[in-house]
């Protein structure tokens, strides 16, 4: 099929992008790496969009440590996340994630902001940011605001981003001594979206566990986290299986995904203790 765009404009900077979105009369659509949006347009799942191309806004790209947090610009590409030394130091979970996301051509263009804004329930980055307790930074006509990852993901392809807003950056806590990260997933083929996946973060304060591809959005598995903190691995597996509500589709049933999530948690825990992460 041929895409049917309503128009296209390249934004010089964030203010320009916000103006373009405001002028688009509700049809504005941010174009970042285009790896999800263009595919949707080519299937005519989305037509008539006024594309606001933010991909050349340099200020939205790159990784820094600022004010005691790791700040990742929205336009930072998957491939750059995978090789950035600051990310490797403070958020190795994201580096692990990159290896599971699609194929090189897609990682060369796709952006972390696009991944979070797109909010595919099977995507890795949203679950990572949730497990790490990150914050999502948005800028709109009324200024900037920050949304905790816990409050950001609403439903399938639905986030807290309001009409006319742009996701500008993600901030994550800096890594603590002894902190460990494990991302584990099972996909039908390498690069496919996962049948189910988990992000497990172990900090002095306790465990954080998020699950993806097991519901309409990435979920924080609080009951399982509580069992993990209590040192009850078997209880955590059971709790996780109980607190997710996975979908059935042509790849796998809900029952399989529920089973798989438990297996993955057992393996993630082995990874944690085996110091292989």
């Amino acid at each position: 099929m041929k895409a049917l765009a309503g128009g296209y404009a390249r934004a010089k900077d964030v203010a320009h992008a916000l103006d373009l979105l405001a002028a688009a009369d509700g049809m504005g659509r941010v174009l970042a790496g285009g790896q999800s949006l263009i595919a949707a347009m080519n299937m005519r799942l989305s037509t008539g969009d006024m594309l606001v191309d933010i991909s050349r806004i340099e200020a939205l790209r790159g990784v820094t440590v600022e004010g005691g947090t790791l700040r990742i610009g929205a336009l930072t590409r998957h491939v750059d996340i995978g090789t950035d030394p600051l990310v490797a130091e403070h958020a190795p979970l994201l580096v692990q994630a990159v290896h599971h996301i699609a194929h090189a051509a897609i990682r060369n263009r796709g952006t972390i902001g696009g991944s979070l804004a797109h909010a595919d329930p099977a995507a890795e980055f949203p679950a990572c940011v949730l497990a790490l307790g990150g914050t999502i930074h948005l800028q709109g006509p009324d200024g900037m605001r920050a949304v905790a990852a816990e409050d950001f993901f609403v439903d399938v392809f639905e986030t807290a981003i309001a009409e006319g807003e742009i996701l500008t950056a993600i901030t994550l806590p800096l890594i603590e001594p002894g902190e460990r990260h494990v991302l584990i997933e099972t996909a039908r083929r390498s690069g496919d979206y996962a049948l189910a996946g988990l992000c497990l973060v172990k900090r002095a304060a306790g465990h954080r566990l998020s699950a993806f591809s097991v519901g309409p959005r990435p979920i924080l598995a609080v009951a399982a986290m509580e069992r993990l903190d209590a040192g009850d691995a078997a209880g955590a597996v059971q709790a996780l299986r109980n607190e997710i509500d996975p979908p059935s589709d042509t790849q796998a049933s809900a029952a399989y995904r529920r089973h798989l999530a438990g297996v993955l948690l057992t393996r993630a825990l082995q990874d944690l203790t085996g110091e292989t992460a």
Partner: protein
């Protein structure tokens, strides 16, 4: 003239060597010419309005709004196309009882599957046509859909085509020996149910056609991504009421076909009809969603199988009950009964046993029509046969290789006729098995498997012997009344500069046909392959032929090329003899030079001979034949088909917690007769194996109970990808067919035929200690865990 194939040092010894493909640089440099690359003056684009219902009555079709879209030229309904294009009925006389209703290029009154073309929008661009197509408003009244194969014949199921009486398209029962008695007295009987999933071919280049009608010439020209240009010439002529000689089908580069592009598609015929009506070029290129909903599907079978063995593992009898659902129409002109028919013909193929019963039941349903796709019926028959043989071996505690050795036809048993009444000229099951055992170090692998089992690692080894039908005679389609040519021709000529042009009726789909032809012609004439230009795929230019299907290009087209090249050589040498005052028997052509046969001494380059013949013919004796062009056609006549054989093995690991399968290694030893180009053969085998592995582990078209296609994209229909593919070791045994001087049989489908069975047997080998078994493809992680009882609900 004969060729001493046994002597690798013979002059011009290109046959049997890996010679680079002449068309490869063109394709990898993006200089290929696919249908979509062709742009003609006044060319329009057609987009089809497709049924969103599996079964519905078509009421009014409202086009006014669509007509208003900028760029729209014209909109056609089924009734309008039917005025210039007759419907077709896909039956064959030798498939007794096969029935199918008339099928129109665009649905008239009723639509029978999701994706069936209902109206056509012609515009100056594809984008405009798509936009308008979305605005065509068709008034559908949904009708009950038939979607379940096994209940299609039940009294409670509606009859899809009332005129046909019932939903049974075709049934064939074949019975040989006393099957019931053999089962009754057997030492052991094993039975199982198998499923192979609905697949499609997923060609890189989608179906594409560009048709022009030139009223001034009264000629239709179709640039078509097809395997069978001459067959399509007949189809267009017949259904658009044109003289066959006024239809030209040109088939330039084709981006893969796998059988998908050998069928008649309603939208492609409609494109031709529209070009005829509008008298201008019209292009249709399917997009990926259209490919999934309208390219033929295949392999949707459910099979019950039983095998009886004696205490020594001798197979006594097999009993096969095959069911397949083909969609709402049998596909024109090859029909959709062939696949089930092949299952009947091929089950038990490698084995020497006496009592055989097989039935296939082919039913209608409201899904995309199914038809022939690479290895037609073979993957099904091989999975059932080899699955049963492995189960029987396990039941009597025998090694799976041993039970095969005890049952395969002896290598000196030929010619022989199988219980399915297939005639085998010469096969090499035992030699192939011996070679496989050595290549894979079977004993070593078994030891490794046992050692790892102790550590909780579950690996499996699966073996699958197979036969493959190649080089078909008219017994495949021609005797049934279809104008599908089993013969093929080649014209070879020498031009003044000594270069050689070969025109062949077989076609290039990306598989290397032209390379194969070039090296045969090079050897036959005596020139380097680089001096041979091969032209295929133009009905107005090449000799009449069948094109690409049933692994016939090398065996049939190759022999025609060899014979025409040898004939040209004789013509050249006759002229050379006159020029050199030497008996032509004493001369030979080597590396583009006329030489003394005995000494190899160069006597004259071909370009000198060309100069004289074409420009100074006055210097040659009057009456000397000087036609430096020769045509030969070839058809097999001793056997209906040239069967090949082989054996595959898979080594894999099953993750018993997640159900994932990791393919570790794959082997195939096959016997395609004379190997013309080892690299091309090996890559055909590897590519075929990959398609087979896709069927075993990944590929499955899903429909819901209402007949809605659920996975119409590459994200949801999983094809095998490089990262998951194992190393493949390919070995050969060569038993040339005696029907031709070349001795080549086909190699294009062997990989696909055997791979799914090998994987199934390997998985079951890994699972056997846990008492689990899988027989429904693809073997997804979930199906494996369910077989193990790991998932309750």
């Amino acid at each position: 003239m004969t060729i001493s194939f046994g002597n690798p040092d013979r002059p011009n010894s290109y046959i049997g060597k890996t010679v680079p493909r002449p068309n490869a640089p063109r394709l990898v440099q993006g200089r290929g010419k696919y249908v979509d690359d062709i742009v003609l003056p006044r060319m329009a684009h057609v987009v089809f309005v497709r049924s969103p219902h599996a079964h519905a009555r078509i009421g009014a079709i409202e086009t006014a709004e669509a007509q208003g879209v900028k760029g729209v030229l014209r909109i056609f309904t089924g009734a309008e196309i039917a005025e210039v294009c007759t419907p077709w009925v896909a039956v064959l006389a030798h498939l007794k009882g096969l029935k199918s209703p008339p099928q129109h290029a665009l649905a008239v009154d009723r639509t029978c599957w999701v994706g069936e073309p209902v109206a056509a929008v012609v515009a100056t661009s594809r984008a405009a046509a798509e936009e308008a197509a979305a605005l065509v408003d068709v008034d559908y009244t949904p009708l009950p859909a038939v979607t379940d194969m096994m209940t299609a014949l039940d009294a409670a199921t509606p009859v899809l085509h009332p005129d046909m009486g019932d939903n049974l398209a075709f049934r064939r029962l074949h019975e040989e020996g006393d099957v019931d008695a053999a089962f009754a007295s057997a030492h052991k009987v094993v039975e199982a149910r198998f499923k192979t999933a609905r697949h499609t071919g997923v060609t890189l280049e989608p179906r594409s056609i560009l048709v022009d009608w030139n009223p001034a010439e009264g000629q239709m020209t179709a640039w078509h991504a097809t395997q069978a240009p001459h067959m399509m010439q007949t189809v267009f002529a017949k259904h658009l009421d044109l003289p066959e000689g006024r239809v030209r089908v040109i088939c330039d580069d084709v981006g893969g076909s796998y059988g998908i592009k050998v069928h008649v598609y309603p939208d492609e015929v409609a494109t031709a009809a529209i070009a005829r009506i509008m008298a201008r070029p019209v292009k249709f290129v399917a997009d990926r969603l259209e490919s999934f909903t309208t390219d033929i599907h295949a392999r949707d079978h459910e099979i019950g199988g039983r095998i009886a063995v004696d205490a020594d593992g001798k197979i006594l009898a097999m009993d096969i009950d095959d069911w397949t659902a083909i969609g709402a129409y049998s596909v024109y002109p090859r029909t959709s009964a062939i696949e089930g028919n092949q299952v009947v013909n091929l089950c038990g193929g490698p084995y020497d046993f006496a009592h055989y019963r097989a039935q296939t039941s082919v039913v209608f349903q409201n899904k995309t029509p199914t038809c022939q796709y690479r290895a037609v019926g073979h993957p099904i028959a091989v999975a059932v046969t080899e699955g049963l043989v492995d189960m029987a071996a396990a039941a009597i505690g025998m090694d799976p290789v041993e039970i095969r050795r005890r049952n395969m036809y002896a290598d000196d048993a030929y010619p022989v006729t199988s219980p399915a009444k297939m005639r085998f000229e010469g096969l090499s099951h035992h030699a192939s098995m011996d070679k496989l055992m050595a290549l894979m170090d079977y004993e070593g692998l078994r030891a490794e498997q046992a050692a790892l089992r102790e550590k909780g690692i579950h690996r499996g080894i699966g073996i699958a012997s197979f036969i493959e039908l190649t080089n078909p005679s008219p017994f495949m389609y021609g005797i049934g009344g279809a104008r599908i040519s089993a013969q093929d021709g080649c014209t070879v000529r020498m031009d003044p500069d000594g270069s050689i042009v070969a025109l062949s009726g077989v076609t290039e789909q990306g598989q290397g046909t032209e390379a194969m032809l070039a090296q045969i012609v090079a050897e036959g004439v005596g020139v380097p392959p680089a001096r041979v230009r091969v032209i295929t795929g133009d009905t107005q230019v090449t000799p009449y032929g069948g094109g690409t299907w049933a692994s016939r290009g090398a065996g049939i087209g190759g022999e025609a090329a060899l014979q025409s090249a040898l004939a040209l050589k004789a013509s050249i040498l006759e002229v050379a003899g006159a020029m050199l005052q030497a008996p032509s028997e004493a001369l030979d052509i080597r590396d583009g030079q006329v030489v003394d046969t005995a000494t190899g001494e160069a006597r004259m380059p071909l370009e000198e001979l060309g100069r004289i013949v074409y420009f100074r013919g006055d210097t040659l004796p009057k009456g000397l034949p000087r036609e430096l062009v020769q045509t030969r056609h070839f058809i097999t006549s001793d056997y209906p088909f040239a069967f090949t054989n082989g054996v595959q093995a898979s080594y894999l690991e099953v993750d018993t917690d997640t159900g994932e399968v990791k393919l570790l290694k794959h082997w195939c030893v096959e016997d395609c007769g004379r190997i013309i180009n080892p690299q091309l053969v090996d890559e055909q085998i590897r590519g075929g194996i990959v398609q087979g592995l896709g069927g075993a582990l990944y590929e499955e078209i899903h429909y819901d109970a209402d007949g809605q296609l659920l996975n119409g994209s590459m994200a949801d229909y999983l094809v095998p990808m490089a990262a998951e593919m194992p190393d493949m070791i390919v070995g050969h045994v060569e038993t040339p067919t005696m029907e031709s001087a070349l001795g080549a049989k086909g190699a294009g489908e062997a990989g696909t035929a055997g791979a799914p069975a090998a994987v199934m047997n390997a998985i079951n080998d890994a699972l056997r200690p846990m008492g689990a078994q899988v027989t429904a493809m693809p073997f997804t992680p979930e199906r494996i865990l369910r077989a193990m009882g790991q998932i309750e609900d």
